[in-house]
């Protein structure tokens, strides 16, 4: 399976076909989830209507973590099997991962004000999510600043694999330290503690956001593969702006 998609042409063909499907799923499920979350799901008995922020905050946080886990796995694959497509996929996941992390922090702050009375607290969960955002920015910066693509890939893989230690810290921060942030209420060994009327829009949004993430990876990786192919054929450095390949107007 890994070897099959390690071929850039095969992966590009897959991305061209699967990308639009993922985008359609994202539009459909996110639209449906947001509509149910805003207008049909009940208000919380304690938080009132501000609980509706959960439907955009929680899926963004899940996708932020999942995107980083994806980058770490792809980096490991690239390290062990030297698959260039794994590097390309990892790189393509960085921008959506950073966007989801920023979104989780932003919507979390907006949710924090009416429930905690503060936009931000130096809580273990919030701080470890902020560190995740910095790791994402560092990862993107490496790809953009190191001119030699082979060195950039090596440095990026190392950062991705070292930074993976932050994932269990984020996940268990609410259990290891005293925290304002609520503990897990969906992925629990004894099952979700959320009523189905709230769980349904939450899961619709989560699957929709995941489809968006997949579209981002497919489209970003496809663009990267095309840029690299053009660069290899015409002796240009992949990180160089592509517009240099276009004729002057």
């Amino acid at each position: 399976m890994l070897s099959y998609f390690a071929n850039p042409a095969r992966f590009e063909a897959l991305a061209a076909r699967a990308g639009p499907v993922a985008f359609a799923i994202f539009v459909l499920l996110t639209g449906l989830g947001a509509a149910i979350g805003l207008f049909f799901s009940p208000a919380d008995y304690q938080q009132g209507d501000s609980v509706r922020i959960m439907y955009v905050h929680v899926p963004a946080a899940w996708c932020a973590l999942a995107a980083y886990a994806f980058i770490a796995v792809m980096s490991l694959v690239a390290f062990v099997w030297r698959h260039n497509v794994a590097d390309v996929a990892a790189r393509a996941a960085a921008a959506p991962g950073a966007a989801f992390t920023a979104l989780a922090l932003l919507t979390g702050a907006v949710w924090g004000k009416p429930t905690w009375g503060a936009w931000w607290v130096w809580d273990a969960r919030l701080t470890s999510m902020l560190i995740l955002l910095f790791i994402y920015l560092g990862y993107i910066a490496i790809w953009r600043s190191v001119s030699n693509p082979t060195s950039a890939a090596r440095f990026a893989r190392i950062l991705a694999l070292v930074g993976v230690i932050n994932l269990p810290i984020i996940k268990f921060s609410v259990e290891w330290w005293s925290s304002l942030h609520q503990p897990a209420s969906v992925f629990r060994s004894d099952g979700p503690t959320i009523h189905s009327s709230m769980l349904t829009p939450l899961m619709l949004m989560a699957v929709g956001y995941t489809a968006l993430f997949m579209w981002c990876v497919f489209a970003g990786a496809r663009a990267d593969i095309i840029e690299r192919r053009l660069a290899n054929r015409h002796g240009r450095v992949p990180s160089r702006p592509l517009r240099t390949l276009e004729p002057a107007a």
Binding site: R52, A99, T107, R222, A223
Partner: protein, 54 residues
């Protein structure tokens, strides 16, 4: 005025900001990635047509 209406009035700005911010970030992400993909596809098509002419 019913209690629920008062409560929604208090939460609405926060809910609105959260959903608007999500929409803006997602649209920006989609536009950025689409623009990059379109640029790459255009350059690829241009290069292919130039090679065909040769």
């Amino acid at each position: 005025m019913p209690d629920g209406f008062v409560e929604f009035g208090r939460a609405a700005p926060f809910v609105g900001i959260a959903y608007a911010a999500s929409l803006v970030v997602i649209i920006a992400l989609v536009l950025l990635i689409s623009a990059r993909l379109n640029r790459a596809l255009r350059a690829d098509a241009l290069r292919a047509s130039q090679e065909k002419e040769k």
